[in-house]
């Protein structure tokens, strides 16, 4: 009977003061919530982290007003194993000690990795050198573009550009014509070159529009008789293509 009474009293009274007092514990990197911590005095706040050195990361989740102070809910993340005092990581006056423990399953004495340090690029020169190099590249690009644009029309006209002078192209056609060996294509070329020959000889006429130049050439005292005879030979139904006639006609262009 007495024994049962003692057990009932013990259950009603609960644990003895100081006997079950435990320190909040959490593993490294895991969040640990510590709630309803009474801190007298003014409001406290976590000390700012200037680097990666502090072993705890502290956040205040909530602040509830209380008599002569406040009650705080903290979330703490431990980065280094061991016992720590949360008060060391808070800013404020008269903060009581708030012990906590961060545990780890790693063996003690683990070597930390070396900190990463930014690599230093080799210095290629100062600002002036860099500007000179960039300027040279830009100028070279500009010259390349200008040269490319200048060459483009020339490439497109390759087949129409005269490689030889007008007289050089005219001479073989004239000698072939004298022997009567000219094809229709060559006769057309011959006529165009002869017109070109007279335009070269009359720069004031060459400056005119081609249509007007043709009319002027057919009225030029020196060119007209020869051009009209040439037209008669090449275009008329009744052309005189005898060798002596052709020789006379083409004589001015043989030299």
């Amino acid at each position: 009977m007495n024994r049962r009474l003692v057990i009932a009293l013990l259950l009603i009274a609960g644990p003895l003061p100081g006997a079950g007092e435990s320190v909040p514990t959490q593993r490294v990197g895991r969040p640990l919530e510590i709630r309803d911590v009474y801190i007298p005095g003014g409001e406290v706040k976590p000390k700012p982290r200037r680097d990666r050195e502090p072993p705890l990361v502290v956040r205040i989740l909530a602040i509830k007003p209380a008599k002569d102070g406040s009650r705080y809910d903290f979330e703490v993340q431990g980065l280094e194993p061991g016992r720590h005092d949360l008060a060391d990581f808070l800013e404020g006056d008269g903060i009581p000690g708030i012990p906590l423990e961060i545990t780890t399953s790693l063996p003690p004495g683990l070597a930390h990795p070396h900190p990463n340090e930014p690599a230093v690029l080799p210095d290629l020169g100062g600002y002036r050198t860099k500007m000179i190099v960039l300027g040279s590249i830009w100028a070279a690009g500009l010259v390349a573009i200008l040269l490319w644009r200048k060459k483009k029309p020339a490439r497109a006209n390759d087949d129409t550009i005269a490689t030889a002078s007008l007289a050089d192209r005219l001479r073989p056609l004239v000698s072939q014509a004298a022997t009567g060996q000219l094809s229709t294509d060559d006769r057309a070329k011959l006529e165009r070159l002869i017109i070109g020959h007279w335009r070269e000889k009359r720069p004031e006429i060459a400056a005119l529009a081609p249509a007007e130049a043709m009319i002027q050439l057919r009225h030029d005292t020196e060119a007209a008789p020869l051009l009209r005879a040439l037209e008669q030979w090449l275009h008329s139904r009744t052309s005189n293509s005898s060798a002596p006639a052709l020789e006379d006609l083409l004589a001015p262009y043989s030299n």
Partner: protein, 330 residues
Amino acid sequence: MSTVHSPVTETTEYLQAIRERVGTIVVGQDVVVERMLIALLTSGHLLLEGMPGLAKTLLVNTLAKAMHLNFRRIQFTIDLLPSDIIGSEILDERTGGFRTHRGPAFTNLLLADEINRAAPKVQGALLEAMQERKVTIGNESYPLPTPFLVIATQNPIEQSGTFELPEAQLDRFMLCHRLGYPTAEDEEEILRRNLKLGVKREGTGAVARTEFDLIQGEAIGSEADLVAAMEAANHIHVSDVFLKHVVDVVERTRKHPDLELGCSPRAGISLLKSSRSRALLHGRDYVIPEDLFALAEDVMLHRIRLSYEALAEGKTASKVLREILEESIS
């Protein structure tokens, strides 16, 4: 000198007389008259580009009168309908049936003034009539009178509210002549003639006379003379060498780097036909390079299109064509 056959001489004289008759009314537009005659002889069509006030209507009217041809003029506007040109079927209340009303296209010389002011479907209707030389009204096709020549005009400056003719339709015009202002001497002569016009009495009233009142006199020649001239133009000799020149110039337009669109084969055909007519007008029975060069701008310029790069460089089609012609004889 060229050997001139008698038929050519007679035809040339007939055509020369027409040019002179037109010259008595219109001053300083002899080249345009030549182009009109070329178009008429070859059954081509002519597009005239020029500022207003250059006597285009007077010119066509005078030519029609001189050649005893019917002449009609249509002022193209935005609200013009195809039926306003080709005609339509209208309900005859007396008979209760439809009868055909023939439009102004049924004429010999049709002046389509400011063709680019009409909507594309109207332009299309006219250009189709030009090509096929017949029109369809309702379910019936009607042939157009012969000869049938369209002389269209467009103003090169004022482009707002216009519909530019696309290349395919421009190609249907055998010639596109750019009318310039008259020379100082010609302008002086125009003013002198205008001073002498005076006043025309009509009943009890009077009205100032215009150049149109001067279009009088008998027509030169007859329809048979015109037909003979057309046949003579068709018999003008074209040498193989001339053909090579035409092919060379046309090919150069297709290869030129500044041109996006070169000349079509129709341009070559037009060059040949128009050169023949020009030779006839100048009393020759064969064509020569001068004909080709004289007509190249009118035949080819409206058929070529500059590339974007050439436009950006400030080039013009006229300059490029000149380059092409100069390259061909250098």
